[in-house]
Symmetry: C2
Subunit: 348 residues, 2 copies
């Protein structure tokens, strides 16, 4: 039914598609990064570039196995992208919307980077936003008690630690972190618990004094399971991550969670992130902005809209040993963007 009365004219035949390129990059985390369901220290990312008028726009895809994506498939999808009018971000994304979500995010981010560079403004300004200076959480993967405590010690001065948990042992480790650290503590369970377990877990987490709890139960358990945990956790907010992939998921979660975690790689970059943020706000929900393990290119894209959200978790590039891009600077957990045009990121 969409656009019945005002179809956008077809692109003229003679208009040439712009020059694009796709390359795979392998990045490594400083330490092995474990969450409830997986563990890794090497990540393959796909970089999409588009050139117009001597200006290059770049976007990063962070293919995620959880969503059935791999770097090969994502790169192949991006290889087939044709961009006729890079200014028409809406239609370009719509025409490519069957791509894996992280590929669509790379395209969206490259188009925003290109448009803002051509206009000579940072992306946040293109979007009518103030220059953001978010304080991001720093994520501690699942590890033994000693490692986690030594990490917390190393991260003294970081205002927010997000601690991954996968079982009761990790909750006990968290209790020790609480005693050793002055940081705000957020908890991410990545679907580790049943609803019954989670109700008990969040009672402990409340006692420990955590500030936010992310995805305590499986997305497949449905909104009602999240609702039980949200009720038990109140007033500590419970935020849906694996349950909230795109804007259309938000209405199904409203009333069952306190907020949703928006990630650019989950659906299609900045544009779909804004759609999801707007939908969440219309439902009175809190909003978290999260990331995958990503280079400074992907992280920066999210950082530009971080002024719109309540919880910022954009540490992906902080975890890397070999970030191939530079631009944003982390300073004691604060993420500082430059005022350069576009996403303000360059290859190292």
């Amino acid at each position: 039914m969409r656009r019945r009365y005002n179809a956008v004219p077809e692109i003229a035949e003679e208009e040439a598609a712009l020059q694009t390129s796709v390359k795979n990059v392998e990045v490594h985390t400083r330490r092995t990064f474990a969450i409830a369901r997986s563990s890794s220290d090497v990540f393959e990312r796909v970089i999409f570039e588009i050139e117009d008028d001597g200006v290059t726009g770049r976007g990063e895809a962070a293919p995620t196995g959880y969503y059935g994506q791999d770097a090969g498939g994502v790169a192949a999808a991006l290889e087939s992208v044709k961009v006729d009018d890079p200014w028409d971000i809406e239609a370009t994304l719509a025409r490519n919307s069957v791509m894996p979500s992280s590929a669509l995010a790379a395209l969206d981010n490259a188009l925003h980077d290109l448009a803002a560079k051509r206009l000579g403004v940072p992306v946040y300004r293109l979007l009518g936003l103030a220059k953001p200076e978010p304080i991001s959480a720093y994520t501690l993967g699942i590890a033994d008690r000693e490692t986690t405590l030594s990490d917390a010690e190393r991260l003294r001065g970081y205002p927010i630690l997000k601690v991954k948990v996968g079982g009761w042992k990790d909750v006990e480790t968290l209790r020790a972190v609480r005693e050793a650290s002055a940081a705000d503590l957020w908890v991410d369970a990545n679907e580790a618990f049943t609803a019954e377990e989670a109700v008990e877990v969040v009672a402990q987490l409340k006692e420990i004094g955590v500030g936010m709890i992310e995805q305590p139960v499986a997305a497949s358990a449905g909104p009602e399971a999240l609702g039980k945990v949200t009720q038990a956790a109140s007033p500590v907010p419970v935020v849906a991550d694996e349950s909230s992939i795109e804007a259309r998921d938000v209405p199904t979660l409203a009333g069952y969670v306190s907020g949703v975690n928006v990630k650019l790689a989950k659906r299609g970059g900045l544009r779909s992130a804004l759609e999801m943020i707007h939908t969440a706000r219309a439902h009175g929900l809190l909003v978290m902005l999260g990331c995958m393990v990503e280079t400074s290119l992907g992280i920066s894209a999210a950082a530009h809209i971080s002024g719109l959200v309540d919880f910022v978790d954009l540490d992906g590039a902080m975890l890397l040993a070999d970030d191939p891009y530079s631009g944003p600077v982390y300073k004691n957990g604060r993420l500082l963007l430059s005022e350069k045009p576009g996403l303000a990121v360059e290859p190292r």
Copy 2:
């Protein structure tokens, strides 16, 4: 709870507010314009201007008595607006969000006009959209059968007529229009009927072959009343107008209507219109873009985002005898924007 961890820094004390101006203009429709609850041929509009770097951004407020607004109050609200950073549209609107909605829309539109003019692009391009060329409905106010039929004759060639109805007599007039005109017919009842009456009315409207039915029952009757009518009207879409003021209304209407009518003057201009469109799409709803009786300035602002919607009803300026602005051109119901920067509207 919003922005707990990433408060935007306060504007520095020494930063001066920009030069703004407010003026009231009186415009007249070619004919007296009657809807179910009111009738008029003179409309007071308020123009807000903001100047930065030698560039002027303009926005129009269409104060609406139905929403408890008058031109005096709207002008007074706009007189008190201080803009420190015109690029930061989000925060400027948030700081002024207590203003009457049409005043907020004027501010929003002026900021978009200014930003796009300074960047040298039309507003649609600033927003990442294609150049829109929407076909708009042309609205026929409530009138006797002869007047309406002569109007329909005069408007031969217009693809869509939107006919206002307030009672059974108007439904019969519509039946005569259907026989005399080849146009698609939309119907706007502006809350005229009870749910019981409306169920009977829409049965007739289906038979007549209308393409869309707007706000058949009072907003105060609640979503369930609309739901009954939507069910009776199916497959003809029923669109909420008076029931859907802002994005937060959309979740309460989902499941009860086919779509929502978004108007820039209802909440706060382009930015809140995009929020409402995104929320409606997340709920799988159709979207109509409507207007008040407005000059070409207000109409153009809406036209820039018209590529995002299903039903375009932006004839406000077409109805005027003394439009003080020029820019968009109506051609047999099609609304043509120029490619000039900003809203592409200038004083005559």
